[in-house]
């Protein structure tokens, strides 16, 4: 049975990775998961400088989902390279580093510093552009394109992944821009902006008011978006959003994902990644599938309906 997949230059021994921000820097879950068994570890978003993140409360549970407004608290580039990366390098797995910046320059500096030292760089574009008055990089197509183009120039040895936000005005044209600007892959979906209110205090449940919705609630939205993007571009997709089981992962894969990332599910069951991997193997065995890649985009459909 061959589970190997390729995302740009990065060869993954299996299609299972973690979603940025839900698996810490790997170490936090090493007690529950043999990191050697993962196709890749994707770490919490890294910024140039360390960040404190938003004021608590930062999380709130909603039906079959959760809101978070962590505000990208992280140790910063330097500490990551010194303290976190060496640990991960001790395992036989790929390291994907999610990066974020407030300016294109910050992104470039991060990309330069990481290029060649990590297997892949994942661009988190759901950040406010401080130079452009705080609008999101993902909400203006011209800036979005410029960001990818500039970062691409600086990512020569690592694989470049762009993480798309489901709240982008058009996820399809963003996917096309990624392909045109030479990104190696797309990862999707990021959380969906959402909100909850404490009716007793009349205040938002999160101090940031709006947070990102993740978890099984959003899975059907993620699967639909992956399917649409898969029909639109040829670069590989890392699918995520509410994957709790191998069956959920296979939905993403049949819709067109080459690899899958486990996010919120790590919180619910820290061993989810391993269960998903085993479940995919079982499915392939039961269906007598030798090569994992034959499943990618394997949805059977026709325009008349099913």
């Amino acid at each position: 049975m061959n589970l190997t997949v390729k995302i740009g230059k990065m060869v993954m021994k299996n299609p299972v990775t973690t979603a940025s921000g839900t698996f810490g820097y790997g170490q936090e879950y090493a007690e529950f998961v043999d990191l050697n068994c993962l196709g890749a570890v994707t770490v919490k978003g890294i910024s140039r400088e360390p960040r404190q993140g938003n004021t608590p409360p930062r999380i709130f549970e909603t039906p079959c989902g959760m809101l978070n407004s962590i505000g990208l608290q992280n140790v910063g580039l330097e500490a990551f390279l010194k303290e976190k990366l060496p640990y991960l390098r001790g395992f036989d797995t790929n390291v994907i580093v999610n990066i974020l910046g407030g300016t294109i320059k910050e992104y470039i500096e991060l990309a330069e510093a990481l290029d060649g030292r990590v297997d892949a760089i994942e661009l988190n574009v759901s950040c406010p552009n401080v130079k452009k008055g705080g609008i999101l990089f993902s909400s203006d197509e011209a800036i979005f394109r410029e960001l990818i183009r500039e970062v691409r120039k600086n990512v020569v040895n690592s694989t470049l992944i762009v993480k798309l936000s489901p709240s982008a005005s058009s996820i399809l044209s963003q996917a096309r821009i990624c392909e045109e600007e030479g990104a190696d892959a797309i990862s999707m979906i990021n959380t969906i902006p959402a909100m909850a209110i404490d009716i007793e205090s009349r205040r938002p449940r999160l101090s940031n008011i709006i947070g990102g919705l993740s978890g099984p609630a959003i899975r059907p939205i993620g699967v639909r978006m992956v399917w649409e993007v898969h029909k639109t571009v040829r670069i590989p997709i890392i699918g995520m959003g509410g994957i709790m089981t191998a069956g959920d992962a296979l939905e993403y894969i049949l819709a067109g994902a080459t690899a899958v990332a486990i996010g919120t599910a790590n919180f619910v069951d820290p061993t989810t990644t391993m269960k998903v991997l085993k479940g995919i193997e079982d499915y392939m065995r039961n269906h007598e599938i030798e090569d994992f890649s034959s499943l990618i985009g394997g949805l059977i459909w026709d325009r008349e309906g099913r």
């Binding site: 698996f23 919490k44 993140g53 409360p57 709130f60 039906p63 079959c64 962590i70 099984p216 919180f267």
Partner: protein, 252 residues
């Protein structure tokens, strides 16, 4: 020994309409908790409720651990309806713990409401001359009265409505106590609702009284990965699930 286990419900005993004591069987050879540590419980196969919920280890032996739980919403409702023989997911012990007192300290254990669950074990596990200050709305909200009677040390009960013990907050009562006795080497161990914590913090900072407070924050992962459960301390953002739940009063 993994901290992640399936655990059998041994019994589940209602104390009031809302409060109950859930006893789970610990897998053989499990780590024992320390006072102030907690476990993350998950009792369903569905995704609503989704996340594990944190509860302090209230009482334990080598074979079992008891949780003293107050029903708040969906998660605790599910736990309340568990019956002997059911199996649930258990992650823990988690978090840091109340540092054991050194030498001949006087232990001032301060509990408000369900906060008793977190500090009660100190009375049993840590040696020292202990006083329990335990407050609640009214006498029927004071839980585990039998266990408290059995405790050989001093107990000071407080109720908002004066239906038993001192009429007023535990923090007021603590202040009276300290003013009267001025214990030389005292250390506070506390857990309770936000209002109590705020008052206690202010009082302790005013007087230089030393000690530890257990805090609550909503948790997602419980293992330090999500950065969801932080509190802003004088030493920066601290994760309640890893660097907490117990914090020295100085950093708060």
């Amino acid at each position: 020994m993994s901290r992640l286990n399936r655990a059998e419900v041994l019994n589940n005993i209602p104390l009031t309409d809302r409060e109950f004591i859930l006893r789970l069987k610990l897998p053989p050879g499990s780590l024992s908790p320390m006072p102030g540590q907690f476990y993350l419980l998950r009792a369903t196969n569905t995704f609503d409720p989704l996340l594990r919920r944190p509860f302090s280890a209230f009482r334990w032996s080598d074979e079992w651990v008891d949780f003293l739980i107050s029903e708040k919403g969906k998660g605790t409702l599910v736990l309340k309806s568990l019956r002997p023989g059911d199996e649930i997911d258990l992650l823990g012990p988690a978090g840091n713990y109340f540092p054991p007192p050194s030498g001949d300290m006087k232990l001032l254990v301060v509990a408000g409401g369900i906060g008793i669950a977190s500090v009660f074990s100190i009375l049993r596990e840590y040696n020292g001359d202990s006083v329990l200050f335990y407050g609640a709305r009214s006498s029927d909200a004071l839980l585990i009265r039998k266990d408290i009677e059995d405790f050989s040390g001093e107990v000071v009960l407080c109720t908002d409505d004066g239906s038993i013990g001192f009429k007023g907050s535990v923090v007021e009562r603590l202040r009276l106590y300290i003013n009267e006795r001025t214990p030389e080497k005292a250390i506070v161990y506390a857990c309770g609702p936000e209002a109590m914590i705020t008052a206690l913090k202010t009082y302790m900072k005013e007087t230089g009284l030393r000690g530890y407070i257990s805090l609550e924050e909503r948790m997602a992962c419980g293992v330090g990965a999500c950065m969801g459960c932080v509190k802003n301390t004088s030493e920066g953002m601290k994760r309640v699930c890893i660097e907490g739940p117990v914090f020295p009063v100085e950093v708060l």
